[in-house]
Symmetry: C2
């Protein structure tokens, strides 16, 4: 704060104001998605912004209700209480408080690295699966249906019960928002507005739908035509809530809270990093944990809705010129002003408007481009992405993430279990050594040089052993085996046992085993083992030296030595 | 069979005879451990040996009841039926048949590699934990207690109820067996016997205890003094059993059967491999699966006791001169002869004798040497071993193995998540490049050469990124960054995304990124990506060439090119 520069103020003010207005429909919509009263979404846009501003490390990340935390709140709490009930509200509060506490604790324990175990395909699959779930949950509201029919075959008949007024409003709002997203900025630009202003105005398009919706309800008395509206909204700021927890309920919230913390953290950090890159700043994942923790505790205290960094709100923030977290504080003030002034008017807002706001926001989250890219790069990664998305859709959010993480880990082990082992030879007249199967190289008949292209660990010891045996069978004149360990970054004890038995087996056949290019950290660990001290003949600093030395030893007398 | 040589017959006959006699007490003891009638142990020493001889690949492995499968049968069936009941027997039969079927199926599908996911520390921890469980289960029988008191504090009072006759017999048998294991062979050798014969005689010491036990019971009517004996044993060979399965029971046996298959397979293969090495033979894991599958189906058909290769019986087999699986067939004949002749006499065998046979066999399985070695080599591996053993003791066999495997996998990921990244320079007047922190090397002020010593994948992308940023901060004059990928065997899509963003970030600071020593398989995968085609400045075949080329480009004009 002491370092705040005057020049930053204008940008922070504009950004705070624009974001504050822009997030009004979003916040209410995501609260609806979470099964909470819409004003909770607005409440969760005040204290969390201030909490994050105090502890977070990103200058421009904007935290608040987002679609994914909304969906997670709804699906994680669904088995525990009925949406809208007092129990449900209480659980939502505790979910936010617990995940805030966990995030703070992880931050203090510097456990930010835990998020690394979510690979990009898992995150992308999760987000896509969640987005599809959200679309499915909101479509009936836009189509004027009360809910999806239990039996898909009755869809056409339940169609007759749909409210065509709602459907018409929904389609109109949808067209306007799609237009606003794709063309409005360009058209405003053509009218002479600067690109930045045109872009920001286009981002505020949902506000117009909200205002029109409220006005239309008041003029035409829409509720009497069967159009569901938001319903009563208390005026004023949220009362800080503190109720003693129910221990058994808390226990059932532990896993959901952990999951929501993990997802919020991963999402926020990746958004914060891409923002920081644009401004050539850097962020500290452990401080992000603290900031998000404070934000979620703030969210819990003001009524309960787990929050996280949002991509679109943060983009608008940075585009509108935000320089520091002060912009977030100003957004919080804007929302506070709205709450003590016009918020009760939102009671007349048709729910279909919020459903359309959600739909337009989440459809782009279904990330087919990532799927195509992952699939093309590596089938296993494409499968990881697909299985995570399918897991989220079919088995639910928790099982989907767990499935994806397991799939990614197994794919990683599987890859490591099939090491590339190459017989190498000298590229003529150089000191380079290359795979005999890819290059024209020179070899020595009694010297078998093998480069092992993988860490040697439990999942591949058998495969490495087999590759070496096979190479020995192909080169029956071998008297000296040289293992080139330039690509071996670790040997675990299972691998060490295998190598030790292999060396013993070779010794019985009067073949000596040598090593070359052992990395420093690997040598540090090996130097006290019997294998390196007694069984290995020689350790060479480079393959070149090894070839020069061993290439000459053509007529070694049979011996059983370890030199 | 067609290739059978006459010269092998003598060895096979001797080995078959010695092993056949030696395994009588063992087989009965392990059946008792499994909660089965003791004759089932004898039955399980006939058909399985023949089944393995038909399909297995090891020349000298001896399969049959072993301590670990006995314990696993007992603990896996305990939640499903009362030990000794008809249901329990039926479940044991189905457990053996199911695991036999699974092993056969795995063999036909060539899934032998699955065993690789059990690392040595996990196997060692499991065996040690299981051995301790076995000791705990047999100690009361040796001490003359009916069972362990539920409350440890009442141990001293329940001591009063112990049978001192049983205790005395137990201690005597224990002393004799310990002496037989440690000294008897040497003492027999001193009497003029050859080392081999003395060794084999010492291995038959338990038979003496069995014979003495039976004689003593008959002479002194021990059961009337409260000494538990084995009880009725039917004469004759086992009737082949086939009962239609109960589907719900089968389903509950699936996981136990899979677990017992996995453990039997890993144990048998590691024993078979160490035996094969002694005789310079080789074994085929997939054929081992088939042999073990046939053995277990034989075990199931003859009354039910999952079998596996045993270390001590196989050692005796090879020491007594076994050359082919014919030795196993002869052992089976010996057991068959015993069953149709003197087996009913074993009814008078005191149970304490069998308990002592078990204790002496399993105490050496508690493998403190492996723990010490694993701990010294790598703390994480020591912890894996300990946590597997503790898991087996506290949570049970299934949870223990699962815990151990998870621990090993997480440790592996954890290690990969902390990559070693070295800034390298040229060793003066050579073409070698070494870590600047370990060696005196020459660097160029504007060229930062980094060697990444780990595959770049989701668990370490953040760490690699951070290491590169840190190196850039340490070398602020850097204009060219060279990533040396000699130790990178795979880059996953999460890593690729990071590298692509990193390259973009560097480009904005007018720093170019180059690669050197990209491995063939990595290049194959990368060559179609935008990263390598558009973002990377140059890819050099060697660090030497890269240094020679980039070292000269001192006065590059600022540009934004990807060449």
């Amino acid at each position: 704060m002491r370092h705040y520069r005057r020049a930053w103020l204008a940008g922070d003010l504009t950004a705070g104001l624009v974001v504050g207005i822009m997030i009004i429909p979003q916040s209410m919509a995501y609260a609806m998605l979470a099964g909470l009263p819409v004003q909770i979404g607005l409440y969760a846009s005040i204290l969390p912004l201030i909490g994050y501003a105090l502890l977070g490390s990103s200058m421009t990340l904007s935290v608040g209700p987002v679609a994914v935390t909304g969906l997670m709140t709804a699906t994680l709490l669904a088995p525990l209480a009925t949406a809208g009930s007092a129990d449900y509200l209480q659980l939502a509060i505790w979910l936010a408080l617990l995940s805030g506490g966990m995030l703070l604790a992880f931050g203090l324990l510097r456990l930010g690295f835990l998020a690394n175990f979510l690979s990009h395909p898992v995150i992308s699959g999760f987000i896509s699966g969640a987005a599809i779930l959200i679309v499915l949950s909101q479509l009936p509201k836009m189509l004027g249906l009360a809910a999806w029919p239990d039996d898909p075959l009755t869809l056409s008949s339940s169609w007759d019960n749909s409210n065509s007024l709602v459907l018409a409003m929904g389609l109109t709002a949808l067209c306007w928002l799609i237009y606003a997203r794709s063309r409005l900025a360009a058209h405003l630009g053509a009218l002479g507005l600067s690109a930045t202003v045109a872009g920001l105005l286009a981002r505020l398009a949902p506000i117009l739908v909200v205002v029109l919706g409220v006005v239309l309800t008041l003029l035409a008395d829409l509720p009497s035509h069967g159009v569901p509206v938001v319903g009563e909204i208390p005026a004023g700021l949220p009362a800080l809530v503190w109720q003693p927890p129910d221990l058994s309920a808390l226990r059932s919230l532990l896993l959901p809270a952990a999951l929501i913390s993990l997802v919020s953290f991963v999402e926020s950090v990746s958004i914060a990093q891409s923002l920081a890159r644009r401004k050539r700043q850097s962020i500290d994942p452990d401080r992000e944990l603290l900031g998000l923790g404070a934000a979620n505790i703030g969210a819990g205290l003001s009524g309960g809705f787990a929050v996280c960094g949002g991509f679109s709100r943060s983009s608008v923030n940075i585009e509108a010129g935000a320089n520091t977290p002060l912009a977030g504080v100003i957004s919080a003030l804007v929302i506070g002003l709205i709450l003590i002034s016009i918020a009760p008017l939102f009671a007349w807002l048709p729910q279909v408007v919020l459903a359309v706001v959600i739909l337009v926001a989440v459809v782009p989250l279904v990330d087919l481009a990532s799927l195509r890219r992952a699939w093309r790069y590596d089938r296993a990664e494409g499968l990881t992405l697909l299985s995570t998305a399918a897991g989220v859709l079919v088995l639910g959010i928790e099982a989907g993430i767990v499935l994806g993480v397991c799939f990614a880990i197994v794919a990683q082990l599987w890859r490591g279990s099939r090491p590339h082992v190459a017989v190498v030879g000298r590229v003529p007249d150089t000191h380079y050594f290359r795979n005999t199967k890819r290059h024209l190289v020179e070899t020595e008949p009694h010297l078998l040089a093998l480069r092992i292209d993988e860490n040697i660990f439990f999942a591949n010891t058998k495969a490495v052993e087999q590759a070496i045996s096979q190479a020995l069978a192909e080169y029956p004149d071998t008297r000296e085996v040289l293992l080139i360990l330039s690509a071996v970054n670790h040997i675990d004890s299972t691998g060490l046992d295998m190598l030790s038995e292999l060396t013993e087996g070779l010794r019985e056949r009067d073949i000596r085993l040598h090593l070359a290019e052992v990395k420093g950290p690997v040598m540090d660990q090996l130097q006290h083992t019997d294998w390196i001290r007694q069984q290995i003949a020689q350790v060479f600093p480079s393959t070149d030296i090894a070839f020069n030395t061993l290439g000459k030893v053509r007529d070694r007398a049979p011996e059983h030595s370890g030199e």
